[in-house]
Structures are given as structure tokens and as C-alpha cells.
């Protein structure tokens, strides 16, 4: 077929049947060029066809002009972790052309903008040059949109070759442009134009196809930052202070976005919660502590550098027993590190945040849906225990679109913990003291400013105090107060979300992991099972750990603690709670800024088990 020849096809047309709904695509482009819209259109369309899909954005820490990759995984089996192999590459960026070419799997498909004139030293793949410039100019779209439109060209071509349904694409664009007809049509026309061209010129059958199924039925697509924000709003958030930082900004920005719709008082027409952009993280946490102290449900969000700056104030909140929630959307550290790469490296810092004997409970959501759930649960627990709760996710979960179960409305009423108002104090038959452990559970009763009862006021401080909040340097008083704080921490073990355990027939070994690595671990467990190495999987959902985790370790010959940092921070912390099991706990760490993959987990465990 001459057309095909002219397109410098380099490989025999494979006779094999096309692979359906099971492959990965990598798009290599530059940031700030509008490729985000193109890529989101693709995964939304695939999702609309009912196909499980995930998209991961690997982007640089600048605003415009540097290489960016977007990998889309399509998996009928619902495996949505990043895949180590990519079967389709779309090369739009000359700078990374060679690199992207190399990344392609054997028998893979290489689509590239034909204005990139670089040789293609591989004969084990199929190449499709795309006349991007030509098609763009034919589109006679406004000049300033040209760059952006180039991206829609590959959407059209890919849609054509994979068989993505037009109405699915239309729905994707309709959503993206909030129903605005003009941009929808503009983009749809480009896509059609490119698709037509492809259908005419790429005559041979494409080795990968998508077909509508219903595996994505009953799911939504969202990112963790938005879910965390919504969860907080449904958790009765009243005050949020923040300072911008990647990858956490999305959470407070979602609060700003959804406040008018969700928390405008029908009567007064006023907002029911406050958002303040502070001058830095020292101030952000200070504001949140002030609000939490004064009886508002208060939340802040940050990432590593900001968390470091919150250290001193977090210690005060622990010691003065002030309920607040801190979201740490982790990025790669130490230091400024890789601000746009993912990591689970703040466990130690977050757990011990503060000088002296400070310890905090950590919530560790393992899905976007759980970000919503822990959004409201974390505020409840913070107020019940009168202490800071930290919720740790990472860039991958916070910023990428995940397919997830719909957000579920809270199944328990809002818990405000032990607060006394005027009438409560009037009816008290005992003498209230702010730090008096009346109930023996270590949790005292608190009052908040505005309470007009003449006995309601007390003076809060970060220095030593007695049960009635009076200043004290007395050794016994100090020691007793710190023991009570510890009692609350032990109580937290029983109140934080319990781990989720997935068992397998005949498993002798186990995995403990948490957070965004869940999809990779689940997939790896299937592979390991298939290779005759069944593994039980405990997904930790919070610290401190409860007995389930200790029992799980007891019941296995060996337990792999898998996390995305260098030092095996979680492995360290949990082994402290079971010294007699310590030798069974094996730390496996993955620490290069990319998302964990099932292959890595499977291979690493195989190697370990061979030993």
C-alpha cells in the first residue's frame, strides 16, 4: 500500500489479533503547551466507555517549556498503577524524542510529529508519523491557539486508531469546557479532522484497540486534593488557613472552588467557613491553632517544606491539646527536593513533629475515595481527642485523576468532643478544670472563647500547667500531665482507622503498605499468586498501629513493609511497637520520585524469597 510505504512503515503488519483494553500510552510533550487538556480528554473519554483507566502526569518544577510526560494506562482488569512498559508512545517533543523512542516496548506503536526530523534506530516497532503542522494549519484555528491545538491532533489520530467513541470524546470536552459550545466545537472539529486523516492514511490495522465495557461502572474520577477538600467540607470544616505549595495547593483551592456551592447559608447568603491565605506556613498553622482553640473545626494543608516550618506550633497544639488537622501532600525530599515528584518520606517528621516528647496520630488514605472519608473523620477525631491529626497523602494521589468509588455521605453525625457551654457549666456538679481528667480516659473538657459563663475562661499556654490550667513548674504535675497526654495517644490506637487486610489461600508471607501504592501492591499480589507465591496484604490506614498489625505480623513467616522513601520510615516506626517481631519485618523501599509499579514489587519480593 503506497500510502503506508510513504509513511515509512518499518515493520510487517502483525497478523496477531489486536490487544483490547489492556495497554499503556505515554505522551511526551512540553509543559505549559496545553497538552493537559488533550490528555484529560483522552482518559475521560476512555472512562466514559466504561474502561478502567488511570493517567499520571510526570512534570517538571517550572511553568512552561520543559519536558513533561503523561502516561495513560488502560486495563480491563482494573490494574491502574503505573506500568513499567508502554505499548504506545506519542512523541511531540524533539528534546525527548530519542528517550521516548527507547521507552517503547517491543512491538509497540510509535506516533510522532513528522516535523521532528530525527532517525528512528529501531525495527521492532511500528512507527506512525503524524503531519501535525499540516493538520493544524488546515484547521484554520486562531493563530495563538496553534500550539495548543497541536495536542488535539494526536487525540484525534489516537482516537481513530484505538476506536475511542466520538460521543465519549464529546462528553469529555463538554465536561472540560463546562458546556461552552464554541471551544467544544473547535476542539471536536480538530479531533474529527485528524481522525479522518488517520483513517484515510493509516490503512493497516492498529495492534491496540479499545472496546466499551462496564468495568468502570459505578466509579467516579477525581484527585485526592479535591476529595480531601470535599471530605473536610462534609466534615464541617469552619476555618482553613494555608500557604501555597506544590503539590498541596489543590486542596485549599478546591475549598475556595466549592465553598459558594456547598457552604453558603441559604438564609444569610453568607459563607459558613473561612479560608485565609497566610503569609507563610508558620502563620497558617498559627491561625488554624487559634481557630481550633476557639472552637472552630480547623484544617491546613501543606507539603514537606511547610511541614518543617510548622514543627514548633504543632508541638504547642499537642501540648496545649488543640484540635487541628494538617494535610501533608508529600513530595520528594529531603529539602526542596523534587517538588513535582511523589514520595512517602515525611512519616518520621510528621509522627514526631515538635520538640520534646511530641507524637501525633497519622491518617494514611489509600484511595481518593478514602481521602474524602478521612477528610471528615480526621476532624472528628481531632476534636474528640483534642489533639492535632495529620493526614498524609502524596503528589500522585493528590494531583492525579484516579478512578475511585463515589464519595459516601458520612454515616455518623459530626462529633465535637467534650466542649462545655454556659448551660453545661451551670449544670456541672463538679469543679471543672481545663486539663482535669474527669472521665479517666485522659481527655479533659474544654471551653471556648465567647462562652459568657464567668467561670468558663482559662489561660492557655505552651508552658507547664496544672489541671486547672494554672502555670506550674512542679515536677509531679509536669510528669502526670505528660503521662495523660500519652494515655490519649494510646487511646488513639483504638480510634484511628483500622487496617484493611486481604488474605490469600496458603500465604506464609505478608505485605504491609499504605497510601498511593495500593494499586501496585494489589496487582503485584495477583502476579505473585500466579507464580505460586501467595501473599497476604495489610493496608495500613493510620498510625499508631493497633493489635491487628501485630497479629498480622505474628501470623506470617516474614512481612515486607513497602514504602516510597529511602530509610524505611514506616518500617522503623511499626517495628518499635513489636520488638519481638522486629526481625520478621523486612523493609522494601522505592525512592526515585516515580510511582511504584507492580513489576517492581513482584520482582523484588521474588528476589527476597529466593534468598
Amino acid at each position: 500500500m503506497p500510502t503506508v510505504q510513504s509513511l515509512t512503515q518499518t515493520k510487517e503488519i502483525p497478523t496477531a489479533k489486536p490487544i483490547i483494553n489492556d495497554f499503556s500510552i505515554t505522551v511526551g510533550t512540553v509543559n505549559g503547551s496545553g497538552s493537559q487538556t488533550a490528555n484529560m480528554t483522552l482518559i475521560r473519554a476512555l472512562f466514559k466507555m466504561g474502561i478502567p483507566v488511570s493517567g499520571k502526569n510526570v512534570f517538571p518544577s517550572n511553568i512552561q517549556g520543559l519536558p513533561t510526560w503523561y502516561t495513560i494506562r488502560v486495563s480491563k482488569d482494573g490494574y491502574l498503577a503505573r506500568s513499567e512498559t508502554t505499548e504506545i508512545v506519542i512523541a511531540m517533543n524533539p528534546e525527548t524524542f530519542a528517550k521516548d523512542l527507547n521507552a517503547l516496548a517491543p512491538d509497540g506503536v510509535f506516533l510522532y510529529a513528522d516535523d521532528i526530523k530525527q532517525d528512528i534506530p529501531r525495527d521492532d516497532i511500528i512507527t506512525y508519523p503524524m503531519p501535525v503542522k499540516k493538520l493544524v494549519s488546515e484547521s484554520n484555528a486562531p493563530r495563538k491557539l496553534r500550539n495548543y491545538i497541536a495536542n488535539m491532533i494526536y487525540v484525534g489520530i489516537l482516537a481513530q486508531m484505538l476506536g475511542i467513541e466520538t460521543n465519549a470524546l464529546h462528553q469529555a470536552l463538554d465536561f472540560h469546557f463546562k458546556g461552552k459550545q464554541k471551544p467544544i466545537d473547535l476542539n471536536m472539529n480538530i479531533i474529527r479532522h485528524a481522525a479522518n486523516w488517520a483513517s484515510k492514511n493509516y490503512t493497516q490495522e492498529f495492534p491496540y484497540r479499545v472496546e466499551p465495557i462496564d468495568a468502570a461502572e459505578g466509579y467516579i474520577m477525581a484527585n485526592g486534593n479535591t476529595a480531601g477538600a470535599l471530605g473536610s467540607i462534609y466534615g464541617g470544616l469552619q476555618f482553613a488557613a494555608w500557604y501555597p505549595i506544590t503539590p498541596a495547593s489543590g486542596l485549599p483551592e478546591a475549598l475556595i472552588k466549592y465553598r459558594p456551592k456547598l457552604q453558603t447559608d441559604p438564609e444569610t447568603g453568607k459563607y459558613n467557613f473561612v479560608i485565609v491565605q497566610a503569609e507563610d506556613e508558620l502563620a497558617a498553622i498559627g491561625m488554624v491553632i487559634g481557630a481550633g482553640w476557639a472552637g472552630c473545626r480547623a484544617v491546613t494543608a501543606t507539603s514537606g517544606p511547610g511541614l518543617s516550618l510548622m514543627t514548633e506550633y504543632a508541638g504547642l497544639a499537642y501540648f496545649a491539646e488543640i484540635p487541628i488537622v494538617i494535610w501533608d501532600v508529600q513530595r520528594m525530599g529531603p529539602s526542596t527536593g523534587l517538588p513535582t515528584r511523589t514520595s512517602q518520606g515525611d512519616i518520621n517528621l510528621a509522627h514526631y513533629l515538635g520538640q520534646g516528647d511530641t507524637k501525633h496520630a497519622l491518617f494514611l488514605p489509600g484511595s481518593v475515595n478514602e481521602c474524602f472519608e478521612f477528610g471528615w473523620k480526621s476532624i472528628d477525631l481531632a476534636e474528640q481527642l483534642q489533639t492535632p491529626i495529620l493526614v498524609l497523602i502524596d503528589l500522585d494521589m493528590g494531583m492525579n485523576q484516579w478512578m475511585t468509588k463515589p464519595f459516601e455521605y458520612p454515616d455518623t453525625p459530626i462529633k465535637r468532643g467534650k466542649i462545655l457551654w454556659e448551660e453545661d457549666l451551670d449544670n456541672l456538679d463538679w469543679e471543672w478544670g481545663r486539663y482535669l481528667d474527669k472521665d479517666g480516659d485522659g481527655i479533659p473538657y474544654r471551653t471556648v472563647p465567647g462562652n459568657q459563663h464567668p467561670k468558663s475562661a482559662y489561660f492557655t499556654r505552651g508552658t507547664g500547667h496544672d489541671e486547672y490550667a494554672k502555670y506550674s513548674e512542679d515536677p509531679e504535675t509536669w510528669e502526670a500531665n505528660l503521662e495523660r497526654l500519652n494515655q490519649k495517644f494510646e487511646l488513639a490506637r483504638t480510634m484511628v482507622p483500622k487496617p484493611e487486610i486481604i488474605t490469600r489461600e496458603g500465604a506464609e508471607i505478608g505485605i504491609i503498605a499504605f497510601g498511593s501504592t495500593d494499586p501496585a501492591i494489589r496487582e503485584a499480589c495477583d502476579y505473585l499468586d500466579a507464580t505460586g507465591v501467595p501473599v497476604d496484604y495489610l493496608r495500613l490506614r493510620a498510625l499508631p498501629i493497633n493489635t491487628d498489625v501485630i497479629d498480622f505480623t505474628h501470623d506470617h513467616r516474614r512481612v515486607y513493609v513497602i514504602e516510597m522513601n529511602r530509610d524505611g520510615q514506616l518500617h522503623q516506626i511499626i517495628s518499635l511497637d513489636m520488638p519481638d517481631q522486629a526481625t520478621k519485618l523486612t523493609s522494601l523501599t522505592y525512592n526515585n520520585g516515580l510511582q511504584l509499579t507492580a513489576d517492581w514489587v513482584k520482582n523484588t519480593i521474588m528476589v527476597e524469597e529466593m534468598k
Binding site: R44, F47, K48, F175, I220, M221, A222, L230, Y234, G236, Q238, F239, A241, Y258, L262, T268, K270, Y271, N272, F273, V274, V276, E279, D280, A283, A284, I285, G286, M287, I289, G290, A291, W293, A294, G295, C296, Y313, L316, P406, F407, P410, I414, R416, W421, T447, V448, P449, G450, N451, Q452, H453, S456, A457, Y458, F459, T460, R461, G462, K470, Y471
Partner: protein, 338 residues
């Protein structure tokens, strides 16, 4: 026992016994704040006290035990107050800080609370030294000041009033612990102001920085103070009756209708023009005058409360029903998640 209009005695405005040094300027701040609140008939339960860390920041412990108080972290009082005061906007916030607490470690939060114009009486108990850590130079120490163990200060001092003026504070005053009458009057004005009211109080540290030639000593204050005016007040109710009397340089009507009357002393000065205020300060600094009084006020400036579109009823008393949006709304949200 004498009672004020809301039936409280001065004792009802008292706090724990002071553990500050005998003669410490901060003690004057404590007693004048008690007097001001008592005379202004402010219910202690309507006041919330904030401070950072320092001898000065201990002051709130010593007045108005019946008010909530939070002794926070060094240099971080303003953020604490910002969060807390949103909980019930009917409360009156009083923040007490030191020169180290505000001008050294606290410069950032000091500047930013002013530009947000948080309704807060912000007192800087300014002694030019770190008292609680035993006598190191603070950022307000004058050039050339010599202290034991420290040697001489050769850096330029930070001027709290000047910083407040360019920082766009809506109320800027300076006073002196050695002038309790004026101190009380300015506290009253500040308590009635709607916005951040910065009061730079020269408050001598008798233990570490009170030598006669030190610019933060009683002696220096007494010999260099130039009071701009005498202040008196007319509550909202009576304000109509007021006529201009001779010697009055200005009448300022506050947010709540209260009128401040300024009676000319040193200068014929109107505290409503920031440019003039900057001039005044510049001159005073050159002439080494300790200008005291109400230096600038703008009762109209928007506060952070006006800005954030919030209900008048206290957030911290909001019923739980209101705190959580409806189940239906979540269905709608889920429908848009893709």
C-alpha cells in the same frame, strides 16, 4: 465597693499576681488595661487575650482572669489571634507583645496582621531589650546603646510606629509606661477601634535597660516625651450634643459611633493623614523626641471580617446541622466527578 455600669468592680478585671520585676514598665500596661476595660464597661467575657513569649507576653496573665487568654509562641501572636477571633467576631481581641517578639522574630506576622486589618488591640511593650532571656539587644535598641555582656549596638533600630504606618495599620499610637494617664486613654481609643490598633508602648526594663541615657528608660522617656494631645471620649449616645471647644484639634468618629476628642498639647496635629504622620515621625526621630499620642487613625478601613463574606453569628456556636452540607449536594458533586 465601686461598680461600673455593668455592675462589675475593678477586682473583676484583675488577674494573677504579677511575677514581673518590681518597677517593670509592663506592670503599668497591666494596671492601665484593667482600668480602661473597667471604665469602658467591657464585660471580661467579651475579651480574648493573646501574647507571644517574653516578660511582656506574660502581662495578659496579670489582667482579666475572667477573659480567655492564649500565651502562644515567640513572635507568632498575630496568627493565633487571627484564627481565634474569627470564631466569634463580637469578641474584643487584646494582643500583648514585646519588641523582640514583634520586631525581631515576629516582624512577618506583625506586618501581615496589619495589612489584613484584623480587629485587634496590638500592644508592643517596647523596652529595647530581651528581658526574659536576660538582657540582649532587641531590634528596637537605638544605635549606640551599650549593654552589659553585649557590647554596643551598631545596627539601625526598627521603629514600631514607623513600621505600622507604612504597614497600613488603621490605628497607630505611641505611649509610655511612665505616662499612665495617656496610656489608659489610648487603650480606650484602641478598644473602641474597629481594625488593628497598634500601640507602641515604651515600657522600661528596670533590670536590664534602664540607664538614664538609654532611649527606653524612664529617665529618657520623661525628659524626651512630647505628647501630641489629650484624648477624651464621647460614647455613641451622647455624640450629637458635642460642640467643638477651643483647643480641640480633632474629633474622630469611630465605627461604633464613639467620638474621640483630641485636645491640643504640643502640636496642632490631625492624626488622619498618613503622609503627615510619616513627616512627624521623621522629624521627631531626628530631634530625638519621643512623640506620644494617637499618631494615625482611619476608622473606615475595611477589616478582614468585612472582607471574608461571613455571618454575624459566632462560627463556634454554629449548630452541627449547618456544618455539614446535605446528602443531595454530595450526589450532585459525585455526578460532576470525572
Amino acid at each position: 465597693m465601686k461598680l461600673n455600669e455593668i455592675g462589675l468592680s475593678k477586682k473583676d478585671y484583675g488577674g494573677a499576681p504579677s511575677t514581673l520585676c518590681r518597677g517593670c514598665g509592663h506592670n503599668a500596661i497591666v494596671s492601665q488595661m484593667i482600668a480602661a476595660c473597667y471604665e469602658e464597661n467591657i464585660p471580661p467575657e467579651k475579651v480574648v487575650k493573646f501574647s507571644g513569649i517574653g516578660c511582656s507576653s506574660k502581662a495578659p496573665t496579670y489582667f482579666m482572669e475572667r477573659s480567655f487568654g492564649f500565651n502562644g509562641l515567640h513572635g507568632r501572636m498575630p496568627s493565633l489571634a487571627t484564627g481565634a477571633l474569627f470564631a466569634d467576631m463580637s469578641l474584643i481581641g487584646i494582643g500583648v507583645s514585646g519588641d523582640g517578639d514583634t520586631a525581631s522574630i515576629g516582624m512577618g506576622q506583625f506586618k501581615h496582621v496589619m495589612r489584613r486589618n484584623l480587629p485587634l488591640v496590638y500592644i508592643v511593650a517596647n523596652n529595647g531589650v530581651y528581658g526574659l532571656t536576660k538582657g540582649q539587644m532587641s531590634a528596637t535598641a537605638e544605635e549606640g546603646l551599650t549593654l552589659k555582656r553585649q557590647g554596643q549596638n551598631l545596627y539601625m533600630p526598627i521603629d514600631i510606629v514607623w513600621e505600622a504606618l507604612v504597614g497600613r495599620a488603621s490605628f497607630v499610637a505611641r505611649s509610655f509606661s511612665g505616662d499612665p494617664k495617656q496610656l489608659k486613654a489610648l487603650f480606650k481609643a484602641a478598644l473602641n477601634h474597629h481594625g488593628t490598633a497598634v500601640i507602641d508602648v515604651i515600657s522600661p526594663c528596670v533590670t536590664f535597660n534602664n540607664s538614664d541615657d538609654s532611649h527606653h528608660s524612664y529617665a529618657w522617656g520623661k525628659s524626651h516625651e512630647v505628647a501630641l494631645h489629650e484624648l477624651s471620649f464621647v460614647p455613641p449616645a451622647k455624640s450629637i450634643e458635642v460642640k467643638y471647644k477651643k483647643g480641640e484639634t480633632a474629633k474622630i468618629t469611630l465605627h461604633d459611633g464613639t467620638q474621640i476628642i483630641l485636645n491640643k498639647l504640643a502640636h496642632d496635629y490631625k492624626p488622619t493623614d498618613r503622609a503627615a504622620a510619616l513627616q512627624l515621625l521623621e522629624k521627631a526621630n531626628r530631634k530625638q523626641e519621643l512623640v506620644t499620642g494617637l499618631i494615625y487613625i482611619n476608622p473606615e478601613q475595611k477589616t478582614i471580617f468585612d472582607i471574608d463574606f461571613l455571618p454575624k453569628s459566632p462560627l463556634n456556636r454554629m449548630p452541627v446541622e449547618k456544618l455539614r452540607p446535605s446528602p443531595e449536594s454530595l450526589d450532585e458533586i459525585n455526578a460532576t466527578m470525572f
